[in-house]
């Protein structure tokens, strides 16, 4: 293994970090379901749920898929198609009038 590989692919998080992330994911999921059933939150449902979902997404990708510590090239290979997919989604939703300015 080259020195560069050893430098760029840092050690993965420990078991303690994995358990902490699992705990946070569980709490966020409980909050998501709770928010869904609370009438007072109905007006803010979309932004709150999308934000919580994005946090869960980042936690899994960052810690469980190790993008936080792995080589930056993996981040680029993942992020570029993800951003294209998100752009296509937004464009389609505008095109079909699901969302509007």
């Amino acid at each position: 293994m080259s020195e560069r590989l050893q430098h760029d692919e840092q050690a993965h998080p420990g078991v303690g970090t994995y358990l902490t992330v699992a705990g946070v994911l569980t709490v966020i999921t409980l909050v998501e379901v709770g928010v869904f059933y609370v009438p007072a939150f109905q007006g803010l449902l979309a932004p709150v749920l999308l934000t919580l979902s994005a946090v869960k997404f980042v936690l899994v990708v960052g810690f469980y898929m190790h993008l936080k510590t792995d080589h930056h090239l993996f981040r680029v290979i993942f992020a570029v198609p993800l951003l294209i997919a998100m752009a296509v989604m937004v464009a389609l939703l505008f095109l079909f009038g699901v969302i509007a300015l």
């Binding site: 293994m1 080259s2 560069r4 590989l5 760029d8 692919e9 993965h12 420990g14 078991v15 994995y18 358990l19 992330v21 699992a22 994911l25 569980t26 999921t29 998501e32 379901v33 869904f36 449902l45 979309a46 749920l49 999308l50 919580l52 979902s53 869960k56 997404f57 899994v60 990708v61 469980y64 898929m65 080589h71 090239l73 993996f74 290979i77 993942f78 570029v80 198609p81 993800l82 294209i84 997919a85 998100m86 296509v88 989604m89 389609l92 939703l93 079909f96 699901v98």
Partner: protein, 194 residues
């Protein structure tokens, strides 16, 4: 470095299999992005029932979501175990991940069966078509992941999954976690944002 190991590395110094897996996951973002977009575009446009409000079971799906999240935890624990050369716990966590994946599929089979009994099929309306294609495609990915995990378990029992093969577990883990993050999005967009 042996010749076999050298053939897997690129000029970047990174393993070509891991680069390939990330490229595959990137392409899967486009696949699921298109399926989720299609679901959203046709959401609320069904001219006949049943519709989302009438049929989706949030408590049941919340439990299956929790099961899939915990399977991701079991997967990283399997990777941690194989990295430190702990064969017993590698097997335990791989088996746990596969079992949780099967439980998730069981929930999905129950949900699909219930929907069909309540009159929602692939041909019933736009909601049925887009819902079954989206969640069915995701379920197929989970099924492939379970088979992959079971194959790793078999390799472990054959004594061919030591610490030097940890990358094989990491690649399966990348796929499994991606399936998990796709479900995180589906759970929010399809089930909670009705």
């Amino acid at each position: 470095m042996t010749h076999a190991e050298a053939t897997h590395h690129t000029s970047t110094g990174l393993d070509s299999r891991k680069i390939g897996m990330w490229a595959f996951i990137g392409s899967e973002c486009l696949l699921f992005g298109s399926l989720i977009s299609t679901y959203l575009v046709y959401q609320g446009k069904s001219v006949a029932g049943p519709t989302t409000h009438e049929i989706l079971n949030i408590p049941l799906t919340s439990v299956s979501t929790f099961v899939l999240l915990m399977s991701s935890l079991a997967m990283v624990l399997a990777l941690a175990a194989v990295t430190r050369g702990d064969t017993l716990w590698t097997r335990v966590w791989l088996a746990t991940t596969a079992l949780l994946g099967l439980i998730f599929l069981g929930f999905q089979a129950y949900e699909f069966t219930t929907f069909v009994h309540e009159g929602l099929t692939l041909q019933t309306n736009l909601f049925g078509s887009t819902f079954f294609v989206l969640t069915g495609t995701h379920g197929a990915h989970v099924a492939v992941g379970v088979l992959w995990l079971l194959s790793l378990l078999v390799r472990s029992f054959q004594g061919k999954l030591g610490a030097e093969k940890a990358l094989n577990v990491e690649l399966a883990g990348l796929y499994w976690h991606f399936v998990d993050v796709v479900w995180i999005v589906i759970f929010t967009v399809v089930y909670l944002l009705q």
